[in-house]
Point group: C2
Chain length 197, copies 2
DNA sequence: TTAATAGTTGAATGAGTATTCAATTAATTG
DNA sequence: CAATTAATTGAATACTCATTCAACTATTAA
């Protein structure tokens, strides 16, 4: 993480202010002026660092996807020993308080842009393919230790993520924590069943 | 379907123009002026029928959700006989050309509003709960005919939809039709397996 | 036919938008 | 210290936004 000069620091600061404002106001209705106000700087300074709004949105999407990836990587690293890794990962993936680390409102707004901007589509697919690859590799390792018997690790990794994404997609519509938790538990069980754990 | 007077016709016309414009330009960047232009009417006429932008967005979300629900209901009705209903439904749910009936870009943009507008959250959850209920009832019927042995139809219906939503969420990021189809096929198989078919 | 209502128009309002630019201050380098 | 570069400012640009309003034209009812 270089961020040596002021320029890079400012750029990061601006993107983070964008992210925070977008959480409150919504991604599409967050203007350069609003970001500037939250940082108490003139709007022209933001334009100085990001030549256009498009460039700024681009930087935000990068920021979001990196954040998303980091949360996953952190989950991987936190496992005590390798044999505990898979169940530990599944448990954390299907738990609401883990999901709360990231703002879904901004995430889905950014995702919606995938349908009109091919470059965003590529970014999103890249990150999600990386995540699937990581899980797939973990499954292969667990296969070798005899923990699981997974015939097609790539396919299974995909299935687990389908289940994960679909579950969060639904529970975000639900009001009570109780309801959300019940569905997460149900999906977690199904995930275990798919893995043969 | 009343739509007796001109007022109701105009209102529907406006919402549909909103939807079509949103497909091309994106939901959040579709203004009243743009909708008006596409209909070749002055913006003030739109405001006359929908007192505010918020009311207009509300009407669009209703329109989208009704459209979504209708697609499902049509799929239900199209089954030749009741014994064919379940496999026929699953096949159509997990096929891309069926999904293409509805614009996902607009759908996810609307979904993103769920995080800031409780009234939209309620609308979305209502529709999705109806869909799950319908599938659950179908599973119960299939249980009675002995077609399947589903211990918890409500939970199973949820799981099928988790898988469905998660699969579409992912394949929308993918470029090639081939890739998309492979994942849909894989998920369809898992759905069959979950149902014990 | 007259009166009342509903549909439609175009112009105007004020606030907010992204972006440009010249001027000014701060930091860095020779 | 002097010269150069980078960071910052504030004002101004042209444009789009949602919304208002008075005037106008159909349509309908009495």
């Amino acid at each position: 993480m270089g961020l040596s000069n002021i320029s890079d620091l400012r750029k990061k600061e601006i993107v983070e202010a964008f992210y925070k404002t977008a959480i409150k106001e919504g991604l599409e209705s967050t203007s350069i002026a609003k970001i500037a106000k939250s940082l108490d700087i003139p709007p022209s300074l933001i334009v100085h660092y990001y030549k256009s709004k498009d460039e700024l949105v681009n930087a935000l999407i990068n920021h979001c996807l990196e954040l998303y990836l980091k949360i996953f990587e952190k989950t991987y690293d936190s496992a005590i020993d390798s044999s505990q890794m898979l169940p530990s990962l599944i448990n954390r993936m299907f738990s609401k308080d883990w999901n709360d680390l990231f703002d879904d409102g901004v995430y889905y707004s950014a995702y919606a842009m995938v349908f009109r901007e091919p470059k965003f589509r590529e970014k999103f697919s890249k990150i999600h393919k990386i995540l699937r690859l990581k899980l797939s590799e973990l499954l292969k390792e667990c296969n070798e230790t005899g923990m699981i018997k997974c015939i097609n690790p790539d396919q299974t990794a995909n299935q687990i993520f389908f289940l994960l994404d679909g579950t969060y997609f639904y529970i975000n519509m639900l009001e009570t924590y109780k309801e959300q938790n019940e569905h997460l538990e149900s999906s977690k069980k199904l995930a275990y069943s798919i893995l043969g754990l």
